[in-house]
């Protein structure tokens, strides 16, 4: 009797701890049952490829959420940086390129650096608002979101030929972003590798550096961190700086992945990133979350989108299903931390 109870408790704990993986697994199984053609390497590679840029973005957003904040501006910041990247990688043979004076392809590090620089500036504004002005991250990023949107519109509108999408990129850039390793008949896209590298780096930052530890401490109990001698302002600014770098990289890659940047680029990416993090167990109450969790969350979200499209589900219905899955996943996940009385 006692043993049986113990077992159900264990089973329950198992389901709670691995709920995300179980959801992901079930979903794939269901999709495969409906359409066995889904079971192909190329589909999984596609899902991962599509998840990569948003994943890198989410790695930055996750830090903010661990700090018990959020970032509503991530998408528009990505848009800004992507526009900057796009304008610098346009093919020199393209007549209506933004900078007609550009006669030679720039080395790819230049647009990458420019993209990162812009994202970092915006993130530092957010960081300053949170650390120094003591604004809630929601508020300050609501502000920068609008500012970033204004900036991207002005930038794109400043073209000689008026506001038009920035497109037609040079081959070198496109290869860096969209190329891949050829392994026999199958290609492993660089994008997935970049995502993996970013995730590993961030895992190290979160788990092996003082910055990461301080981040969890500040998010979990700001006062405790303060009285333990953690430099709050500096650490918050650093977290935002790291996020800026990630946004910049994500923007650079996203520009190449979608091949054309307009004023709408990046819209709602922040919400996708936040949903991904939250599905992956990064708690809005702060101080809780893991990098594998955040990555998996983003991938699950992407897998849902992809498989629903694959099954040609009505796109309006897709929104409803996605919304329900977010609520379901998070409500299961929070159960881990609910103290029962």
């Amino acid at each position: 009797m006692a043993d049986a109870r113990f077992d159900t408790q264990k089973l329950k704990d198992f389901f709670l701890n691995y709920s995300l993986y179980i959801i992901l697994g079930l979903m794939i199984v269901v999709v495969i049952i409906i359409n066995p053609a889904f079971l192909s390497v190329s589909n999984f590679i596609n899902i991962l490829r599509q998840a990569s840029t948003r994943g890198i973005l989410a790695l930055g957003v996750a830090g903010m959420i661990v700090l018990a904040g959020t970032d509503l501006s991530a998408g528009r910041i990505l848009g800004c940086s992507a526009a900057m990247t796009a304008s610098l990688v346009q093919s020199v043979t393209y007549a209506s390129r933004m900078y007609p004076g550009m006669e030679k392809d720039l080395p790819v590090v230049v647009p990458l650096a420019a993209s990162i620089a812009i994202a970092v500036i915006f993130c530092l504004i957010n960081g300053f608002g949170v650390a120094k002005l003591h604004l809630h991250a929601f508020i300050v990023s609501l502000g920068t979101q609008l500012i970033a949107f204004g900036v991207i519109c002005i930038y794109i509108d400043s073209q000689k030929n008026g506001a038009q999408a920035l497109s037609t990129f040079n081959g070198k850039f496109l290869n860096v972003v969209n190329g891949g390793f050829q392994i026999g008949s199958f290609t492993l896209p660089y994008l997935i590798i970049y995502f993996l590298i970013a995730a590993v780096c961030m895992w190290i930052v979160w788990n092996k550096t003082a910055l990461g530890k301080n981040m969890f401490a500040m998010g979990g109990n700001m006062e405790a961190a303060a009285v333990s001698g953690v430099n709050i302002t500096k650490n918050i600014m650093l977290i935002y700086l790291v996020a800026g770098v990630l946004y910049g990289i994500a923007a650079f890659l996203e520009a190449g992945r979608i091949g054309s940047v307009n004023t709408g680029t990046g819209l709602n990416y922040d919400l996708d990133a936040i949903s991904g993090c939250v599905i992956g167990g990064v708690s809005f109450s702060g101080g809780v979350g893991t990098i594998p969790g955040a990555c998996l969350g983003v991938i699950i979200l992407q897998a849902i989108t992809y498989s629903l499209t694959f099954l040609s589900v009505n796109p309006y219905l897709q929104f409803i299903i996605k919304g329900l899955i977010i609520i379901l996943a998070v409500s299961i996940d929070v159960r881990k931390y609910l103290a029962k009385k």
Binding site: A224, A226, K340
Partner: protein, 598 residues
């Protein structure tokens, strides 16, 4: 500082006046006394900028006479007349050597909006001594320490460490300068490991990365040294409050601080753990650390301290040798008047059985197991037990905020279905929660809001809340409870702990309960206010209400309860009938029962 000087001036006759209490004799310790001998006497005099009483005397009357004087204070013998004069000299010399002033806080002022929290406060701490800081809640003890620790910055005054003026803008600077503090609120990151909490702010690194191994080893070393049996890798939120408190103390120790501030470190420790803490303090004292010890527990203070500074209303009231003080003196110094009795007399006569609890067991462990008892009208039933004996869970299960596994609650013979707090309030129950700050007050709301919030249904008139009715009731509550507040709209966070507690009790009384469940009603409340709360509880019982009162302070249970239930590890271990039986040593009996199922 000026006042201190004046007093020193007044003490021209050594040894007699209690004002000489600041003398270094406080630090007398026989072991070191003999070891160090009289040779150090010269150094001990006039070492500090602010010459204290003992030093001043030493300078005027010669080292020996002065030394004799200091001992005279401690042992109430006239200076120089002591038969063992040589030994006395040696003792005081050593005391002087250990008593080098390490910290001076001079004329500290601190103003908060609407409150003068500190007014010209001074404090002198000596090396290798324990200096206790006492005072009612709101007397400014914690504020003073937060000024020292760089959490607040004083408006006026000077802080000197080793005679050197310092000013800390943040805790980091304080820590770097050898000042560590164990805060009253356990400031911990609950979801991180013990060792991360210990090393937060100065994580050990290797090649730029945090070294978990080093962190573990260092933590383990400190824990072993302090005999703390906690795995450094445990998530700290999983520890008991007392374990967390010990971790916090170990953390403070790990800074190798020369000044250590302990702000109510024993508030959630059992007697055994307090003994453990005192051993740690003893070790630190022997190492020459100056310790400032804040506590409300007078017997602890008298046991552990060398010197005691008492504060009242943000002002310095007195600094004395602990050996010169008695409990009554401390209380009257803290309250500013004499309190002849610590507890009001309980002359109530319990009547019919009001509530009966049968076989109460919570659903989710750890919780209370199969608890049955009866409560009479007008009876005050105490619940004693160690931390973790599930007293709070018992109350929560009666009140329905915890999920009931099995068992029944009857009120006047009728079975009550207290499945949630709304129902239990309607059924005539009220629960005063243990953690006032976390689950009692709404800090950013006014006194009025905090008063009426549990009883809003009573104020609805034509679908809206009647401001007038709420005002009348709140005014009545403020009056009958003697709550000190500038207005009904004042945020409750500006009130002292005792006044906050009165408001919360007032809140529950407005719901007209039959049974009041009080969980640590006097925790963190100063002596004066405690007395008023006791009076209030007895009055309520006198009006026929049944009161169940959980408390960790045995004297207060023994002082006012009709009966005391003792819980041990979730179960009821026994009940003491204080009214009809004579106990030779009720405290021991309670402790014995409390350990029964551990």
């Amino acid at each position: 500082m000026a006042e201190l000087g004046k007093e020193n001036g007044a003490v021209s006759e050594p040894a007699v006046s209690p004002e000489a209490a600041t003398a270094p004799g406080a630090a007398v310790s026989p072991e070191t006394a003999i070891a160090q001998g009289a040779a150090v006497a010269g150094e001990s005099t006039g070492a500090s900028a602010v010459a204290d009483a003992g030093a001043a005397q030493a300078e005027s009357a010669g080292a020996e006479a002065g030394a004799g004087a200091a001992v005279g204070v401690a042992s109430a013998e006239p200076a120089g007349a002591a038969p063992g004069a040589a030994e006395a000299t040696a003792k005081t010399a050593a005391a002087g050597a250990r008593g080098d002033v390490i910290l001076e806080m001079i004329g500290i002022d601190k103003q908060f909006p609407g409150v003068k929290a500190l007014d010209d406060v001074h404090l002198t701490l000596r090396k290798g001594t324990v200096h206790s800081l006492m005072g009612e809640n709101g007397a400014g003890k914690s504020t003073l320490m937060k000024c020292l620790f760089g959490v607040y910055i004083e408006d006026r005054g000077e802080i000197r460490i080793d005679g050197r003026p310092v000013r800390f803008d943040n805790p980091r600077q304080a820590l770097d300068n050898g000042v560590a503090m164990v805060h009253q609120e356990l400031n911990q990151v609950l979801r991180r490991s013990v060792m991360e909490n210990v090393w937060l702010g100065r994580l050990p690194k290797k090649y730029g990365f945090v070294s978990h191994k080093k962190m573990y080893d260092e933590t383990k070393k400190i824990f072993d040294e302090l005999e703390i049996k906690v795995d450094p890798r445990t998530i700290i939120g999983k520890l008991s409050v007392s374990q967390r408190q010990m971790v916090e103390i170990a953390k403070a120790v790990s800074y190798n601080a020369k000044i250590l501030v302990l702000d109510e470190p024993t508030s959630s420790l059992t007697n055994q753990e307090v003994g453990h803490l005192f051993r740690i303090i003893g070790k630190l004292r022997a190492m020459g650390v100056g310790i400032i010890y804040i506590s409300h527990k007078i017997n602890e203070i008298l046991q552990i301290s060398d010197e005691v500074t008492i504060m009242r209303d943000g002002k310095w009231a007195a600094t004395r040798l602990a050996s010169d003080l008695t409990t009554d003196e401390i209380i009257s110094l803290m309250v500013g008047r004499d309190l002849t009795h610590q507890f009001p007399e309980n002359t109530n006569k319990p009547g019919e059985v009001l509530m009966e609890v049968r076989g109460l067991t919570g659903k989710y462990a750890p919780t209370c197991q199969d608890v049955s008892f009866k409560l009479r009208e007008g009876e005050i039933l105490g619940v004693a037990g160690l931390v973790g004996s599930r007293r709070t869970e018992l109350l929560e299960n009666i009140f329905g905020v915890a999920t009931l596994g099995s068992g029944e609650v009857f009120l006047r013979g009728k079975r009550m279905d207290n499945r949630n707090s709304m129902r239990s309030i309607r059924n005539g129950f009220a629960l005063l929660t243990e953690e006032r700050r976390a689950t009692g007050i709404f800090p950013l709301q006014g006194v009025q809001f905090n008063t009426v919030v549990a009883n809003l249904r009573a104020y609805i008139a034509r679908g809206l809340l009647s401001e007038k009715k709420m005002q009348t009731d709140t005014a009545g509550m403020i009056d009958s409870m003697h709550v000190k507040t500038p207005s009904q709209k004042t945020h409750i966070r500006y009130l002292s702990g005792g006044n906050q507690q009165k408001v919360i009790i007032g809140r529950w009384l407005l719901t007209e309960p039959d049974v009041l469940l009080l969980d640590e009603p006097t925790r963190g409340i100063d002596v004066g206010a405690k007395y008023e709360i006791y009076q209030l509880i007895i009055q309520l019982a006198g009006r026929g209400k049944g009161i169940v009162m959980v408390s960790s302070e045995m004297p207060e249970l023994i002082g006012i309860c009709d009966r005391i239930m003792v819980m041990s590890n979730g179960r009821l271990a026994g009940t003491l009938d204080m009214r009809n039986e004579q106990y030779e040593n009720a405290q021991e009996e309670i402790m014995r029962l409390a350990a029964q199922y551990v």
